[in-house]
């Protein structure tokens, strides 16, 4: 009897301890280390990926994605899709106010779309929501958005910057200067930003989710140097960092000082092949180069365990991953490479220039491609080009390159990982590739509403793409978040965004 009592007592104590570890604590300052200084604080002007890290906590979006990349409510509590996928009707959350006291309602949503679509405002969001034809205020809590044609990735687009709602009062007053005094509805409001030094956010007490926002303040600090970013975490100066040095990942997994979260990422990496100029206007030569590359070895040697070999734009976890050849990683085949060289009329090989951006790993990738291709007589000249220069050289309409090593950070809907890159005249179609059959398939995949049908469309697309090879997909990066064990409640989503509204700090 006594023993049983003791056991129960122990159990109670244990459970209490467990509960206290799991009970969110309020207070404290959360210090996050970013990989770069966020340039612009207006979601409708922002282009840098790192901006989005800060936005997650300062803005609410119409919808969000959960860990399974499913669309979940945020500012919109529910929605219906009608008119063959052309009309979206959103029911908006009541009693939501912006940080400046402006009420959030259907009128605010209408203003936000107007702002993004305004040609003179030149928002990078414009192209993402270009299909929006009309935004109608049905009643203060209901907004209806009509699209020109069905667009199944629409909700996914609204789970990112295009769905972040800014205060109409502030945006009208400030115009482009809104970037310096941003006002959203998120659980944290903007306090200050000092370039290359810090961004400070403070809990917004009138946020609609009363339980959100456990920490009092969030302090973001940029660390351009990855080793220094990590050292600051290890020294206890930061609570969490974005993008650890790839070479340190195996050590960090064993390090008791940090809690390391790992998830498959959403992006893809590889090499652009310019199909509108020599030598790669010759498809057989593209196929020859592709057959000479050993993706598994390349990934393992340069990155170790932090990437997965790839053969398409859909990493594990994204819809479309199992579509056609996307996840069938080809074996290296030197005989095929030589046969393709003969077919392309260059039996003794050919030479081309591969542009890479600066960085140790980028150089290693370039050198490995150089040596692998060299075995069949393809001579690769490496040219290191600074990122901004690379972007302007390879982007449409310039296309001034033969091959270029550049990838994509990824989006939660497969469309965002493929459409603009390979559709004729697409804004990201660096290789100037054009295939009417692929265009119609890409458009079809945007209209199809069930996952199964879209998967099938993407399988057809991948069969064509991996035959035509305007891009050689090589690896999919994983996403890592090293953090202090004190940081609790962090939910790691593949998009790599640090969502802090439900995290807290244990003492």
């Amino acid at each position: 009897m006594r023993r049983a009592f003791l056991a129960v007592a122990v159990l109670v104590v244990l459970l209490a301890g467990l509960a206290s570890a799991q009970t969110p604590r309020r207070g404290g300052i959360l210090r996050a280390g970013l990989d770069a200084d966020p340039p612009n604080m207006d979601p409708h002007q922002s282009i840098a990926a790192v901006d989005r890290q800060v936005f997650q906590n300062r803005y609410d979006k119409l919808v969000d994605v959960n860990q399974n990349l499913e669309i979940v409510p945020m500012l919109a509590t529910s929605w219906t899709i009608s008119n063959n996928g052309r009309t979206y009707t959103f029911r908006l959350r009541p009693n939501v106010v912006f940080h400046d006291g402006t009420p959030f309602n259907a009128e605010a949503v209408r203003y936000n779309f107007e702002r993004m679509l305004d040609r003179s405002f030149a928002s990078p969001r414009r192209s993402e929501i270009l299909l929006v034809e009309k935004v109608t205020v049905v009643d203060p809590q209901t907004v209806q958005i009509d699209l020109e044609k069905p667009f199944s990735p629409f909700l996914s687009v609204l789970s990112d910057r295009a769905g972040m709602m800014v205060s109409p009062t502030a945006a009208r007053r400030l115009g482009r200067d809104f970037a310096r005094e941003p006002v959203g509805t998120g659980p944290y409001r903007f306090v200050e930003k000092r370039p290359q030094e810090r961004i400070v956010l403070e809990r917004f007490d009138r946020h609609w989710d009363r339980s959100a926002g456990y920490v009092d303040r969030i302090l973001y600090r940029p660390f351009a140097d990855e080793q220094s970013r990590l050292a600051n975490l290890l020294a206890g100066e930061l609570d969490i960092i974005n993008i650890p040095p790839a070479t340190e990942v195996p050590n960090l997994k064993k390090d008791a000082r940090v809690k390391m979260l790992e998830r498959e990422g959403l992006g893809w990496q590889g090499v652009w092949l310019m199909v509108n100029g020599t030598p790669f206007n010759n498809r057989a030569l593209r196929q020859a180069l592709n057959a000479s590359i050993d993706r598994r070895t390349l990934a393992r040697v340069v990155f170790g365990e932090v990437v997965t070999p790839a053969n398409g734009p859909f990493p594990p976890g994204l819809l479309g991953h199992d579509s056609g050849p996307n996840n069938r990683i080809p074996e290296r085949n030197l005989d095929l490479a030589r046969a393709k060289l003969r077919e392309g009329g260059q039996p003794n090989g050919f030479s081309f220039t591969l542009k890479i951006v600066p960085g140790r790993q980028e150089q290693q990738v370039g050198q490995i491609i150089q040596s692998m291709a060299g075995e069949v007589g393809i001579r690769v000249n490496l040219e290191i080009v600074e990122f901004g220069t690379m972007l302007s050289q390879i982007s449409p309409p310039n296309h001034r390159f033969e091959a270029a090593r550049l990838g994509w950070s990824g989006r939660p809907d497969p469309d965002g990982n493929i459409y603009g890159f390979f559709v004729t005249g697409g804004g990201l179609n660096n290789s100037n590739y054009s295939n009417p059959r692929l265009d119609s398939l890409l458009d079809a995949a945007r209209i199809l509403t069930t996952a199964d049908l879209r998967r099938r469309a993407y399988a057809d697309i991948m069969n064509i793409l991996n035959e035509d090879l305007p891009y050689m997909f090589l690896w999919w990066p994983k996403d890592y978040k090293p953090m202090s064990p004190k940081l609790q409640g962090f939910v790691h989503v593949s998009d790599g965004m640090m969502r802090f509204r439900n995290v807290w700090l244990n003492p």
Partner: protein, 318 residues
């Protein structure tokens, strides 16, 4: 003296004018389109064109320069293309950081170099001399990024004696401000010290061989007095020149050290602005650096005349 100063100050105007033309031309020669970098690859051509227009990039270079110059004369350095922040505001934010880091780094450098240089010259070809020379060689050879990361791991991660990064204004909290300066200033200071020490040593050796030093010794003056009063003062002239150059360099920003220790100074600002093709910001930074170097040179000239009264500051006559 006043006339001399006025003349020198007036001379800086054509210098700055020339610098601004060179910078304006050079940054526009760099490949890369700021509008494209701002809009990102996803944006359509129309968005990029609209941005180019907003940034005034659709106008010819000469017109853009004239507009910029007209504004600078009125004290307006323009706005950052990243988020419209006035360039002057950002410079004002970075200035105290860079000046503080430069000053402390120089101080560290002098504390090491001056005693070491004197002793190495005085005890020439002794163990002290060889040790100082070896250490100096190491100081010059060790790259800043390596020393920085090593000190960071040793003192901030493992021993936890010092904070690893950041900046606190001295008027907010002088102690915490100084703590954060120790590591970066040490990295910068040791590299600078090496050169100063070697220079001071050879300069001292030369002076120690002169007749007036021998006379002083013959008079029976104490070694200490001979060195500090007679030798050092004269040996310092070439050294001051180098120190001036070093200070000018530091005020232009210590990019690598600032990056490793996340010191938000001019160097990081310059690199970020170049990478994002933030033309107005780059021009502002370079203009500031040019002004800083001109003024440091002027100060060096004045210090010469204080060290050696034979050197007079005379205005040029035509």
């Amino acid at each position: 003296m006043t006339r001399y100063l006025t003349q020198r100050l007036l001379l800086t105007i054509p210098v700055l004018f020339l610098v601004s033309i060179i910078v304006f031309t050079l940054i526009n020669l760099i490949p890369g389109d700021p509008a494209l970098l701002m809009a990102g690859g996803e944006a359509g051509q129309d968005v990029v064109e609209a941005l180019r227009k907003q940034m005034g990039l659709d106008r010819p270079l000469v017109v853009r320069y004239a507009i910029w110059l007209g504004r600078v004369v009125r004290g307006d350095l323009g706005k950052s293309v990243r988020d419209g922040r006035p360039v002057l505001d950002v410079l004002r934010l970075k200035l105290p950081v860079t000046i503080q880091l430069a000053a402390i780094s120089l101080l560290v450098s002098w504390c090491i170099a001056i005693p070491a240089g004197i002793v190495a010259a005085w005890k020439r070809r002794s163990v002290v001399d060889y040790t100082a020379t070896t250490v100096a060689l190491a100081g010059v050879s060790i790259p800043n990024f390596w020393l920085g990361i090593m000190l960071l791991y040793l003192f901030a991660v493992n021993l936890r004696w010092l904070p690893p990064s950041g900046y606190v204004e001295p008027w907010v909290n002088p102690i915490r401000s100084l703590e954060r300066m120790v590591l970066p200033a040490t990295v910068l200071g040791t590299a600078l010290a090496a050169l100063v020490m070697r220079l001071l040593r050879s300069s001292m050796l030369e002076v120690l061989g002169t007749e007036y030093v021998r006379t002083a010794q013959a008079k029976g003056l104490a070694d200490r007095r001979v060195i500090t009063r007679h030798a050092l003062r004269n040996a310092l002239i070439p050294v001051v020149t180098v120190m001036g150059l070093q200070l000018g360099g530091l005020l232009g920003g210590a990019v690598i050290t600032e990056t490793i220790f996340a010191v938000p100074g001019i160097g990081q600002l310059a690199v970020q602005s170049i990478l994002t093709r933030d033309y107005p910001m780059v021009q502002g930074v370079v203009l500031f650096s040019a002004v800083a170097i001109v003024f440091v040179n002027l100060s060096v000239d004045i210090i010469y005349s204080l060290l050696d009264p034979r050197i007079r500051l005379v205005e040029a006559r035509s």
